[in-house]
Amino acid sequence: MELLAFGDTGWGDELFRATLMTIAVSITAMLIGFSFAAIFTPLKLSKFKFLNLIANIYTTVIRGVPELLVIYLFFFGGSGAIMFVASIFGYNEYIEINAFVTGSFAIGIISGAYSTEVFRGAIQSIDKGQFEAAKVLGFSKFKQFYKIVLPQMLRLAIPNLSNVWQITLKDTSLISVTGLVEIMRQSYIAAGFTRDPLFFYSFAAVLYLLLTFISMKLINKLEVKYSRGY
């Protein structure tokens, strides 16, 4: 137990901070994922074949390639790409981007591909009559989306989004390869320092279980809230 003490003697405070980092990366990645989904879901549902194709390439490639490979692409390619853009504007110094930014961006793009599929499925399973009714009542496109499509879509999407959240949360463990100090990286450091990998990796497993357990409870509450009236 002394291994987990807070302060200089144990790894308790380090692991606590690492857990907060995991939560922060997961939430950021999930939000980045939502913004990707907000772009690609309309493309998927568009009437134009070309736009469908772009969105399909995005979701197929990301869901068919290992997360780790995507992370390596961002880790090794990220600063290169930004330096290239910066050099266009005449800035030629070396730019190193923060591991948090690269990590949450890489995981966000992955999470976005899953979210896109979830939102597409949710919108498609809304009854066609709802759209027609909105049109008949003279709703503008904007109002139709906010007042009719969005609330129903959220209700249908929440169970699947909770899966996406779980995947995202677990994927953040892979960012440890880039050196960002989240649960996995901190356990790696602690295990190397104390030569007690069994304890620290098992403890990391417990932390992840705790995170998934708590988030499931919270999502269930959300689910109840959004299925009022059903």
Partner: protein
């Protein structure tokens, strides 16, 4: 774009893909048996057996695969009695550690897939078997298992693809699988995009094949 690098790295990556496929197939076969075993345990009426099987799948589905590999590869070597036992021959090899972790992980997901497949079998089918005087054992092997396999094909196909992606984590325990070699080439040439296109293309090709084989099987066994 460095096309020369792409052409040069293609055979290396293709060789590494063989390692990936080996890891995938061995862990899927072992995982299928583990999954079937735990699915049957889940359907057991004894509450302890039931809870044990649920706990197994909960833990393995609720933690990242990376943690599981690290516990098995770095953690288990710490136990003195394991180091001196015959199991050490297996556990000191990263290859087998990765396979054990993958098999246990896919086993947990497979048990959930099979359990729900068993539960969707209509009771009438089993009753029909019983009223024809067929023994419970034969009903299980000849009726329930084939139906459950058909029911679980689509979900299992997804699981195979998830596992294919999961094998990339073998590179974290020094195995040179497709991702491992890709990372090595990236870190020596600093050309991430080119290598990503080739390695990602090979992964996509494999997912494409798996997807279509499962689709074919679904059609073949549909009723």
């Amino acid at each position: 774009m460095d096309f020369e690098l792409m052409i040069n790295s293609f055979p290396k990556l293709l060789n590494a893909a063989v390692v990936t496929l080996k890891l995938l197939s061995v862990s899927l076969i072992v995982g299928l048996f583990i999954g079937l075993l735990f699915a049957i345990l889940r359907l057991n009426k004894n509450i302890f057996i039931n809870k044990f099987a649920y706990g197994y799948s909960y833990v393995f589905r609720g933690t990242p695969l990376l943690v599981q590999i690290f516990i098995i590869y770095f953690g288990l070597g710490q136990i003195e009695s394991l180091r001196s036992s015959f199991l050490w021959v297996i556990l000191k090899e990263p290859y087998w550690c990765a396979i054990i972790a993958f098999a246990l992980n896919t086993g947990a997901y497979t048990s959930e897939i099979l359990r729900s497949a068993f539960q969707t079998i209509k009771p009438g089918i089993i009753e029909a078997g019983k009223s024809l005087g067929i023994s419970n054992k034969i009903i299980f092997y000849k009726v329930q298992i084939p139906i459950a396999i058909r029911q679980s094909l689509p979900a299992y196909g997804n699981e195979i693809i998830l596992m294919l992606k999961g094998t990339s984590l073998a590179s974290t325990v020094t195995l040179m699988d497709l991702t491992g070699v890709a990372k090595y080439i990236i870190s020596t040439t600093f050309k991430p995009i080119e290598v990503f296109i080739v390695a990602g293309g090979i992964y996509l090709f494999m997912t494409f094949i798996i997807h279509n084989v499962i689709k074919f099987l679904e059609k073949k066994y549909s009723y």
